[in-house]
């Protein structure tokens, strides 16, 4: 394969769930060698959330984990064990980028924070992705995706007209999804600077700020006019004549945006099935679309574009949100089993021999099974 934009870049990935793990996945998409660090004592929570059954090896079968961690190699090293910490510090010396989204202070306490790792490797780009950022009075606050729908302002502008605010909910957790789209670009910018100057950077991302950034014009307008009315307007938009979802014959909903109001639209939709209604509206030059669900997205391969791909086990995984050279990605390797590549990577990067690897396994520093007990 010809050189890709991040060929030769190695990423030490402590990313968990979506915000962190997806940022490093997007770096892998561009050719970076991503080595994901977990431990038997602390799995990526996606392995647990997506647990399909209780059979042996359940931790390797979560669809959410596989969706997000394709094209990475996986290591299991105990971060709480001084030996595990030493091995990770050695690995960091061979890496260009660290991605992490632990609660603030976790890596510092393990001696694996930016200060420790950059002392040995000054060209390291260290992306710290957290709920509130690395500074400020709320830096230690915990959040889950939809917490940030609320605290970022998005929920205040989402809802049925005149009713209470709404969040995107646990099956979307919208703020978690968008941070990697921004963070990846910033990490690449810092990698470019590090290639040129030999100096890395500490990149402090607040997920809440990323979500609020998507309301930039609303915050600006509110600052200029504190009396500016806002709140929930259903599906209406300022300056759009008529916009809403309408129920069609058969019960399916469609979304319609009109340049001039049409009081008859609701009745028109109710008397047509959704496909006929959308086709008729499009033919009149009106933007309309069915409100698709997950099964619609799976069925319509033209609509999917490059967003879904299958790995070599036939599993469906995340593709790309964009195309490079007209193409999406091929999956080079499926999401790793827990600790699948520990020995391979420690041999390759650190020159460990069988005896050293055996010692680490016996001491519980490395593992391929969870030690978390019943889930």
């Amino acid at each position: 394969m010809s050189a890709r934009p991040l060929s030769g870049i190695r990423v030490l990935d402590f990313g968990l769930l979506t915000a962190g793990a997806n940022t490093s996945a997007m770096l892998a998409d561009l050719g970076a060698d991503v080595i994901k660090i977990e431990s038997g004592a602390y799995l990526d929570p996606f392995r647990v959330v997506g647990k399909p059954d209780d059979d042996d090896g359940w931790w390797n079968r979560s669809p959410q984990f596989r969706f997000t961690n394709r094209n990475k190699r996986g290591l299991a090293l105990n971060l709480k064990d001084p030996e595990g910490q030493r091995v990770i510090r050695e690995l960091a010396a061979h890496c260009d980028v660290v991605v992490e989204n632990f609660r603030r202070g976790v890596l510092d306490r393990a001696g694996l924070g930016y200060k420790d790792l950059s002392a040995a490797n000054p060209r390291l780009v260290f992306a710290a992705i957290s709920s509130q950022g690395d500074t400020g009075p709320e830096r230690m606050n915990v959040s889950f995706g939809s917490t940030l729908d609320a605290t970022s302002g998005i929920a205040s502008l989402t809802g049925y007209a005149g009713e209470e605010p709404r969040i995107s909910g646990m099956d979307v957790n919208y703020p978690d999804q968008i941070v990697s789209l921004f963070a990846t670009g910033i990490v690449i910018s810092a990698v470019m600077a590090a290639r040129r100057t030999g100096k890395g950077a500490f990149l402090d991302f607040s997920q809440r700020e990323v979500a609020s950034f998507t309301l930039g014009e609303e915050i600006l307008a509110a600052s200029a006019d504190p009396a500016r009315p806002n709140g929930r307007h259903g599906n209406n938009e300022e300056s759009v004549a008529q916009q809403d979802t309408y129920r069609c014959k058969g019960g399916r909903w469609i979304a319609v945006t009109l340049g001039t109001p049409d009081a008859a639209l609701e009745a028109f939709c109710a008397s047509h099935d959704s496909a006929a209604a959308v086709a008729a509206l499009l033919a009149r030059g009106i933007a309309a679309a069915p409100c698709n669900d997950g099964n619609d997205l799976l069925r319509d391969t033209a609509l999917q574009g490059v967003t879904l791909v299958r790995d070599d086990r036939g599993g469906l995984v995340k593709g790309l949100p964009y195309r490079l050279g007209g193409k999406g990605i091929t999956i080079q390797r499926p999401g790793p089993d827990l600790g699948q590549h520990t020995c391979e990577v420690l041999r390759e990067l650190l020159g460990y021999d069988d005896a050293q690897l055996k010692r680490l396994a016996e001491a519980g520093v490395t593992s391929t099974t969870p030690t978390v007990g019943e889930i």
């Binding site: 049925y160 300022e238 609509l303």
Partner: protein
Amino acid sequence: MDAPDDLPLRRFTLIEVNDAKVPLCLRLATSLAAKIAADLGADVLKVEPPGGDPVRRAPPFLPQGGSALFQFLNTSKRSLVLDLASDTGRTALKGLLEKADAVLFEEPTVAAPLLRASRATPIEIAAFPVEMNAAARPVSEFAILALGGLLHMVGEPERKPLRLGGHQASYAAGLTAFTGLAAVLAARDAGQTAPPVRVSLTEVMQWVNWKAASGAEAGGTSPGREGKNSEFQIVPCRDGHVAVVYTATQWPAMRALIGDPRLGDPKFNIRAGRRQHIVELYEIITPWFADKTRAEIQTMAQAKGVPFGPIFSPAELLQTEQYVARGFLATMDHPTLGTLRLPQLPVQWNGRSFAPRPAPELPAPELAA
């Protein structure tokens, strides 16, 4: 407008081509990607059609005049007006492209052949995936949210699907285009031939909504809007609303926080049980919120590690202690609009923020040409 010397993208020159007749939702994506690069120091030249980018006339508006949307999306850029329907306009654009690293534009544009053939790497923003063959299909951001499955996820199951506030399809695509742009610049910087980038809003929305596809593939049934059947709901409190959010492992902490003995009923111990008895669960917890403020609730919940989310409006965010402490909201002196406050890029780079510079005034036609 010169960027400070040490900004990370200082060495790059980008062209943002604004054709006159393009759906605005595509323009918002293009302009956001270019704005991020401009705030990071790239020299971004915005080529506007005669009469200017229509976003200059798009809401929300500032009371002193002008568009808040335009001011937010075009910080730190320079601008010139070119009529790309004319030979002079296209010749001038060609000259600009000679010196540029990348060019951002939307499909369809009359200048597409010229832009795709230039030595600047093209970053194209479109509505739909190429496979849909939908170049002539009418476009709205709202219809794209429907196609990508996001509308299906928000609201009550028996009521209308709802859109998220803001321009989420455009802005998620804009963030994606910025990452594509960064990849292009990195490839060029490393002496590679940079691949062209294409971003469609529809693909970005599906990608963002991947749990719908993943859930449907794993269980046969698609996830969808759950409203009052969800474990995560909005409850009123003394001065507004709070989002009740907690993970399975945080349930014991939440139970302790609310402190009602009825929550000790074993039927609430596991997620399936809580979902089955969700109406009863909310009847028990809702009164706890009624006499407390958002600030009190947040303090009490965080002390127990429970991630409840107080709901803030854009105006309230301006006063948020955390945002003020981090300097997230920049104060920008605009030559005609006065002092403006707006979010700056949501990253601190070695402790540094990237102060935006005011968006350009509409220049006289073909000044630079």
